[in-house]
């Protein structure tokens, strides 16, 4: 069971990383337009889109 010393902190660190990633994505406005985001994923991006950065 010594392996828990590595596994438990690792699991918690991963959970925390997930939470921080979520909070970052929320703050950078990625949840502001869920409908648009769904379409952007499949849009043709052959042409460069200078606008493709987050709003804030």
């Amino acid at each position: 069971m010594e392996v828990m010393i590595i596994l438990v902190p690792l699991a918690l660190a991963l959970g925390l990383a997930g939470l921080l990633a979520f909070l970052w994505s929320l703050k950078s406005g990625q949840y502001d337009d869920l409908e648009g985001a769904a379409w952007r994923a499949i849009a043709d991006d052959d042409e460069p889109q200078p606008s493709a950065r987050a709003e804030r």
């Binding site: 959970g15 997930g18 929320l26 648009g36 499949i42 889109q49 200078p50 606008s51």
Partner: protein, 732 residues
């Protein structure tokens, strides 16, 4: 005269030499539009950001300060085929957005904490029946506490605040039992961990918060979206006024930038966007949006004119007055205030459920503790069992039961062309059993239409249509529209208040008043033909024809009224218009209950009379004179063409020309209410099964977790059924 457009009112300065503007865009519905708009706008030099928000149908633009005029973006969008207009975010909308984000952040924290606590709980549950050492169990419990306690303190804020607000004003809402449950569960778990116990409830407490936050967020998001749509609609009405900036120079400015004392120009065919007094010019104005009266009223210097009036014939100069000065408006505002005050605070289904629920739950928990103590159990064991009862009964599914249905139903209504203004509108709409219609602009279309086009030779009608293109008069617009005219006649001259004339192939053509075309005799013969409409004459040399123009009924009005009756809903018409006009409309629609010449106060009196006999009245109206009765009714709906005040007062707004969205809104609402009740029964039913186990002290954290998530998922799946009704209609 030189005309400019000035939208600087809407431009925000972001600092660092960047300007920002938000535009509401009509007709953005797919990924293609999104890419087209973004590419089209980014192609303008100096634009640093052009991003479409497809959910809210808006574009955010940023550019180097001072290098561009925002008018250019609107022109560019109209070249691309989209109507756009800048808007100001209402402060209410900004609050909703902030609240929505906060709830999502809480939900994120709670969900991640739940997952991690579960990861620790499952080894304990399986270890309890195999070979886990007590030290390992304690270690896992302590870890759970470290995750759950701060997460609950953060994610529970919305509930703690709301419960505190309710308690400090001496009330109990659904959040009170939630907070008590969560706090007691966490507190007991900490104590139990100290005592090396087998069971703790960290996972149950934090999971409860997660599910409840899902419901809270859905509810909030629906409100936020409604507000965004309402903001767009207001912006897209593009209410501008033509303001005199010099003696002879005019500029088109947004109404928001107009101040009392400004002088604006009102051209023929334009709708007035401000309240004021005529200072120069003579014309006739159509006040049907304000009073419901379809006959035109003369306007001359000194005449008061209200926002929403349509200028019919001559150009007017109007001095803007503060909104409350008009006697008519003051009267309507007074009635509206009274009606809003008298609108007895409607008790939402969720509040009614929690009012019953909370005392029952707390009494059960208290009796459980007492019962176990009397049966000889220790205080510690009795309290642990009591808290288990609180946890198991915590209104997890109950908190989801209503918001999930509302979200799904509001989405379905949105697709069929109905927007919600009020969160509890669905419940109230489902209960309506009596519909009162206004006539003008509600049962009839706001635009005029030619009703006897078939009686006139088609080549003559086509000529009349082309001639009509040279006039801004609403009647002329209706003739041009009916004849599908596209090319105006050369050399056509408009005589204000009379008509238009032009010479084609040496013969004079005239379109206008019967007297202008020398057709008085013909008009006199036909005066009784159509009591509702007004007559226009068209002459070519000595050939004379009469056209009858009036506001036509909405295409499906008769069908919808018949469908309402089939659903057991009684129908009545209350109109401010003349008796002849209302009688004709009522007869055509098969409505036997109607009253004409009704004042706003009479309408309210009628609604109150119906209300006091227990009838739940739905009011459908568009005019400013309907606003008080829209507020007084149990539930109300307005067409999108309605006056500002009415649209803001109504609970729902429907789009498009047919009345069908209104009917489908009723169907969706009835289905939704049925599902809400069913969900409540499901949630209560689950408690009926689980509570005896909890009272008996047989609930383990595993059972609590399974029961809680099982019932929540069941309720959510059931809510999805609100998407389908028997006769779905599309408004397009």
């Amino acid at each position: 005269m030189q005309v400019t457009r000035d939208f600087s009112h809407y431009v925000k300065d972001l600092g660092a030499g960047v300007s920002h503007i938000d535009l509401a865009v009509e007709g953005v519905s797919c990924a293609g539009c999104m890419a087209k708009i973004e590419r089209g706008l980014s192609a303008i030099p100096d634009v640093t950001l052009a991003r479409v928000n497809l959910t809210d149908r808006r574009v955010a633009l940023e550019w180097k300060q001072g290098s561009l005029d925002p008018v250019r973006f609107i022109d560019r969008l109209s070249e691309l085929g989209y109507k756009a207009y800048p808007f100001e975010t209402a402060s209410a909308e900004a609050t909703e957005v902030a609240e929505s984000r906060f709830l999502l952040r809480c939900l994120g924290v709670a969900a991640f904490a739940t997952m991690n606590v579960m990861m620790l709980s499952i080894p304990v549950w399986s270890g309890n029946i195999s070979d886990m050492l007590p030290e390992q169990r304690d270690f896992f419990h302590w870890l759970s506490a470290v995750i759950a306690l701060p997460a609950a303190a953060y994610a529970g804020q919305p509930f703690f605040r709301s419960a505190w607000r309710a308690l400090s004003s001496g009330n109990v809402n659904m959040d009170v039992p939630i907070c008590i449950g969560v706090i007691l569960a966490l507190g007991m778990s900490v104590v139990e961990t100290f005592h090396h116990a087998e069971h703790t409830y960290f996972d149950a407490a934090i999971m409860l918060l997660t599910f409840l936050l899902v419901g809270r967020y859905l509810d909030q998001n629906m409100r936020r979206r409604t507000r965004a749509v309402a903001g767009n609609l207001a912006a897209l009405k593009a209410e501008t006024a033509t303001k005199f900036v010099g003696t002879d120079e005019i500029s088109e400015v947004p109404v928001a930038a107009i101040r009392a004392g400004d002088i604006v120009l009102l051209r023929p065919g334009e709708r007035c966007a401000v309240d004021g007094t005529v200072i120069e010019g003579r014309s006739e104005i159509d006040q049907s949006l304000i009073t419901g009266e379809t006959l035109h009223v003369p306007a001359e210097p000194g005449t008061a004119i209200y926002a929403g009036s349509l200028n019919v014939s001559g150009a007017l100069r109007v001095k803007v007055s503060a909104a409350s000065e008009g006697t008519l408006l003051a009267e309507i505002t007074r009635l509206l205030d009274n009606a809003l005050q008298a609108r007895s605070r409607y008790m939402r289904l969720a509040d009614r459920a929690s009012r019953v629920y909370a005392p029952v739950v707390h009494a059960t928990a208290a009796l459980t503790v007492l019962g176990w103590v009397l049966a000889g159990s220790s205080w510690h064991d009795a309290i642990v069992t009591g808290i288990a009862v609180l946890i198991i009964t915590c209104p997890c599914a109950l908190g989801l039961a209503i918001p999930t249905v509302q979200t799904v139903a509001a989405g379905a209504m949105f697709k069929s062309g109905v927007l919600l203004n009020a969160g509890d509108a669905i419940e109230r709409l489902a209960e309506a059993d009596y519909v009162i219609f206004d006539k003008t602009g509600t049962l009839t279309l706001p635009e005029l239409e030619v009703i006897n086009a078939a009686d006139i030779p088609s080549d003559m009608f086509a000529l009349a249509g082309r001639l009509a293109l040279s006039s801004h008069h609403p009647v002329a617009a209706a003739v041009a529209q009916a004849a599908n005219a596209t090319s105006p006649l050369m050399g056509a001259v408009e005589q204000p208040g009379q008509g238009v004339r032009a010479i084609v192939d040496g013969v004079e053509l005239r379109l206008g008043r019967p007297s202008f075309c020398g057709a008085e005799a013909l008009a006199a013969q036909n005066a009784s033909l159509d009591p509702e409409g007004s007559l226009v004459a068209f002459s070519r040399g000595d050939e004379k024809f009469l056209l009858s123009v009036r506001q036509g009924l909405r295409p499906d009005a008769a069908k919808i009224i018949a469908a309402l009756k089939r659903r057991g809903i009684a129908v009545e018409i209350l109109s401010g218009d003349r008796e002849a006009a209302v009688h004709a409309a009522a007869a055509a629609l098969g409505v036997s209950e109607w009253r004409a010449g009704v004042t706003p106060a009479d309408k309210i009196a009628r609604i109150e009379a119906l209300k006091s006999s227990g009838i739940r009245v739905m009011m459908v109206g568009d005019g400013m004179n309907d606003a008080p009765s829209l507020a007084a009714a149990h539930v109300s709906i307005s067409p999108i063409s309605a006056a500002h005040l009415s649209q803001a007062t109504a609970d729902l707004v429907f789009l498009g020309r047919p009345l069908a969205p209104m009917l489908s809104a009723i169907d969706y609402a009835r289905k939704a209410l049925h599902l809400m009740r069913q969900n409540l029964r499901l949630a209560v039913g689950y408690n009926v099964l689980a509570v005896p186990l909890a009272i008996g002290g047989m609930v383990t954290p595993l059972i609590a977790a399974a029961a809680m998530s099982g019932s929540s998922i069941l309720v959510m799946l059931n809510a999805l059924r609100a998407r389908s009704v028997r006769e779905p209609v599309s408004w397009k």
